[in-house]
């Protein structure tokens, strides 16, 4: 049923120029299975007319020199990382045909994470997995697929499951995942099985070309050198030792039902990219810079409270509006777990000149939304500084008498407005009313930048107004 092939597949180089020594023969040992599988891959590429699109990834192992032979795009990859490298190249070369050709140490030991997750993402690639139950290149050490009792240089008394565990069955694992569409184990032990192996490899590559999904072919392959047997006996070894443990069959094939992946989106650049990034290409005319009253110029602001009181957002609001008024600004949070339920604080600088340290150590303006914050930061304030404190949460008077104190029941006012979460905006209103640090008009323009839920802008605006009113009406 097959035509005899009397020439080398065109997907191979005629002369192996990258190789040292004899450039007409491979570097593989006599009787090795790699040569056979290489040929099946090359023939399949020829028959499917995919050679020119193919990218062959050769990671560490005997097949690290795959690039000697395949007249395709080639990558040599780090040990175990071929599926990640293949992912990288396939994602940016979506029309290519990517083959990750890996041995058992590479795929089932050091690269277990990479293969499982490439399979799980359903990368449009074909993985050829050579399982010969041993580390060939490094000289016959135990592989993750080495059989129980099998002697290797690192299991000299035979693989002991109590010490080394059991041989890993990759097809069984991979086929449990949702994304892979075709998972088959084949063997090279006889002509019938070799024919199946050839068909499986071709099918996997064809499915990739059809953009159907992730395909995986495991090949039980002989390593006469590593096993220390003659090549003919090595075929028998596959049949007698390997196949009983590693059943040769199709583990998963949903290729008929699988829909081709959608075509990747075209790369967008130029003005369209600027639009996506929210960068306006035209320079807006700068507004006349708002004049901050002399006593509050170049403020160093510290805002502190419980996580959830919106202290970080209040800082962002001040920085945003300051920037819109043409000032240099910095905002820096205390970040990390303390943001989740504990205390949070941020530092804001609004400055005429370049800002050195963004960390506010000695605030000129302190906003304390709760008691621990006032206790912590009041003592750091510069003499003559101004303290805004949330009397709804702080039942104590500030201790300093060399600062200006502005008591605002921010949480209470917010609660009267129907949402205690806008206490921060009440405080913002109090700050701008008391200090004239920034104009209310610009705060209103700033909302769209620092309030992400647009339907909450009117409430926030009301809260700012309420804070302003409170300061006015109480002559603070």
């Amino acid at each position: 049923m097959y035509e005899p092939i009397l020439e080398k597949p065109k997907s191979f180089f005629d002369i192996y120029k990258e190789k040292s020594g004899d450039q007409t023969i491979t570097h593989y040992c006599p009787g090795c299975g790699h040569g056979i599988v290489h040929k099946y891959v090359a023939s399949a590429l020829d028959e499917l007319n995919l050679t020119d699109k193919a990218i062959f990834v050769s990671p560490v192992g005997c097949s690290v020199f795959g690039y000697y032979y395949f007249n395709t795009g080639n990558y040599q990859a780090a040990h175990g990382r071929a599926p990640a490298v293949a992912t990288g190249t396939k994602r940016v070369n979506p029309d290519s045909i990517v083959i990750s050709y890996q041995g058992d140490g590479d795929l089932a030991a050091i690269g277990t994470a990479e293969i499982i997750h490439a399979a799980n993402r359903g990368e449009l690639m074909t993985v050829i997995f050579i399982n010969n139950a041993i580390y060939g290149m490094t000289g016959g050490q135990m592989a993750p697929t080495t059989l129980v009792g099998q002697k290797t240089t690192t299991s000299p008394r035979g693989r002991n499951p109590y010490n080394e565990g059991y041989p890993v069955k990759m097809c069984e694992l991979i086929s449990q995942l949702n994304a892979p569409i075709y998972v088959e184990r084949v063997a090279l032990n006889n002509a019938a099985n070799r024919a199946k192996a050839k068909r499986a490899i071709k099918k996997a590559l064809k499915l990739q070309a059809e953009r159907k999904g992730f395909t995986f072919v495991e090949v039980l392959s002989q390593c006469p050198t590593g096993w220390k047997v003659d090549p003919p006996d090595s075929l028998k070894w596959i049949e007698e030792k390997m196949i009983p443990y590693y059943p040769v069959k199709v583990f998963k094939d949903i290729s008929n039902e699988a829909e081709p992946y959608p075509e990747p989106k075209k790369i967008v650049s130029g003005n369209e990219l600027l639009e996506i990034l929210g960068i306006k290409s035209e320079e807006e005319k700068d507004l006349k810079k708002y004049e901050i009253p002399k006593e509050y110029r170049n403020p160093k602001i510290k805002i502190a409270g419980f996580g959830g009181q919106g202290v970080l957002l209040l800082g962002v609001a001040l920085a945003q509006v300051g920037m819109m008024e043409g000032y240099n600004v910095t905002w820096i949070p205390s970040y990390g777990p303390e943001m989740r339920g504990g205390t949070a604080n941020c530092s804001v600088n609004i400055s005429d000149g370049l800002i050195g340290s963004p960390v506010v150590e000695k605030p000129t303006i302190l906003v304390a939304m709760n008691k621990p914050s006032m206790e912590k930061f009041e003592k750091d304030m510069v003499p003559g500084g101004i303290l805004f404190y949330n009397t709804a949460m702080i039942d104590e008077e500030p201790k300093r008498d060399d600062i200006t104190k502005v008591p605002v029941p921010a949480t209470k006012i917010a609660s009267d407005l129907g949402n205690i979460r806008v206490g921060n905006m009440v405080m913002l209103g109090a700050i701008i009313e008391k200090t004239k640090l920034l104009p209310f008009e610009t705060v209103k323009k700033g909302f769209e930048y620092f309030i992400s839920r647009k339907n909450l802008i009117p409430l926030n605006e009301k809260a700012v107004e309420a804070g302003m009113r409170y300061v006015r009406e109480n002559n603070l």
Partner: protein, 347 residues
């Protein structure tokens, strides 16, 4: 508005996309996660690739794969993740592939903490992975520079076919500042001709294995030649009030911002203090440092580490003037006051 209030971590991604970066591969880690989040948000609508990898190791190897295609690509992490990526960085350097790696440093060693530190200097500037390679390292100190130097990093990476780091600390990543984009033109993404594109005319080889010692040595010599060229051409720095300074403070990243405030306060007290800030950590601006050795009496290097940059400064100064060191660790950021006090003592 052409200006935007932005975290440094977000500015990185906008700079990268403007520079024509087409692929981001990464893994979340505090305090660098916003970079991955911004990439996840902006890359796909721009028709570009974002993959959250299963590990730091996978992400840097995905970068290797994409970089081998001759396209602009990147990853980002923090110290513990950069440690894991070092294998891949060595392969990328060995195969002479361009890419950009952002490291937002946190406290170490081990799990350490998530507060800002500068303890990754050695692992990033000195290599970190195996073999005789070097990476260009930019050290931004503002959100604006996070954008600008990331943009520039892609050019430098392509120019030399070499991995380029953007090394910042947690504060620079987390801090919000105004960022102006008006000077950055969007660069049209392209595939460089030496890359593997899956086409008949791109059957190239991306490789770092050379079995023959002579061939590998020749490859290494070629790399060293390239590094020499980078040393001659790519060092950038910033001086602040150094001309008449007796004492010059040296620091990068957030530390340089603090030192700038120290210089101003010291000058207010009549002390002749200046600031030298390297914007590239490799290569360091050797000639400029030597020039300053001629005019200043003393250097004070301040780092949020056990003293890593100071080693390199001392190698350049060769004992000609005293090079003092002050460091904080564990995520503690030196205050202006504490550095000012040391500055006064040393003046």
């Amino acid at each position: 508005m052409s200006k935007e209030l932005l975290k440094g971590n977000y500015a990185v991604i906008k700079g990268a996309l403007l520079a024509g970066c087409v692929a981001y591969f990464g893994y979340p880690i505090t305090p660098a996660s916003e970079i991955a989040e911004a990439a996840a948000y902006y890359f796909p609508p721009a028709g570009r690739t974002f993959v959250q990898a299963e590990s730091e190791i996978a992400s840097i190897n995905m970068v290797y794969g994409a970089a081998g295609a001759g396209v602009r690509c990147m990853t980002a992490s923090s110290g513990p993740g950069i440690s894991l990526k070092q294998e891949g960085v060595s392969y990328i350097a060995g195969a002479e592939l361009p890419c950009v790696i952002v490291d937002i440093m946190r406290g170490g060693p081990g799990l350490g903490n998530i507060a800002p530190e500068q303890g990754d200097y050695h692992q990033v500037v000195k290599g970190g992975g195996h073999g005789n390679y070097k990476c260009v390292v930019y050290a931004p100190n503002s959100a604006q520079e996070m954008c600008d130097l990331t943009y520039k990093a892609f050019d430098t990476a392509d120019k030399y076919r070499n991995p380029v780091y953007v090394l910042a600390d947690g504060f620079i990543g987390q801090m919000m500042e105004q960022v102006d984009f008006s000077h950055l033109k969007p660069i049209e993404p392209k595939k460089l001709e030496w890359g593997v594109h899956g086409t008949p005319d791109s059957k190239n080889l991306i490789n770092s294995i050379y079995l023959d010692p002579d061939v590998l040595e020749a490859h290494n010599r070629k790399l060293q030649e390239k590094y020499k060229k980078i040393e001659e051409n790519e060092a950038i720095f910033e001086n602040y009030k150094v001309d008449d300074a007796d004492l010059i403070l040296i620091g990068y990243g957030i530390t340089s911002r603090i030192l700038r405030s120290v210089v101003d306060e010291a000058r207010n007290s009549g002390l002749k203090v200046g600031l030298f800030r390297p914007k590239t950590l490799w290569p360091l601006a050797k000639d400029e440092i030597n020039r300053l050795v001629g005019s200043a009496k003393k250097f004070l290097v301040v780092e949020m580490s056990n003293g890593q940059l100071v080693d390199d400064i001392r190698l350049i100064v060769e004992g000609k003037i005293p090079v003092e060191f002050y460091g904080r660790m564990g995520g503690n950021v030196p205050t202006v006051d504490e550095v000012l006090e040391i500055t006064k003592k040393l003046s």
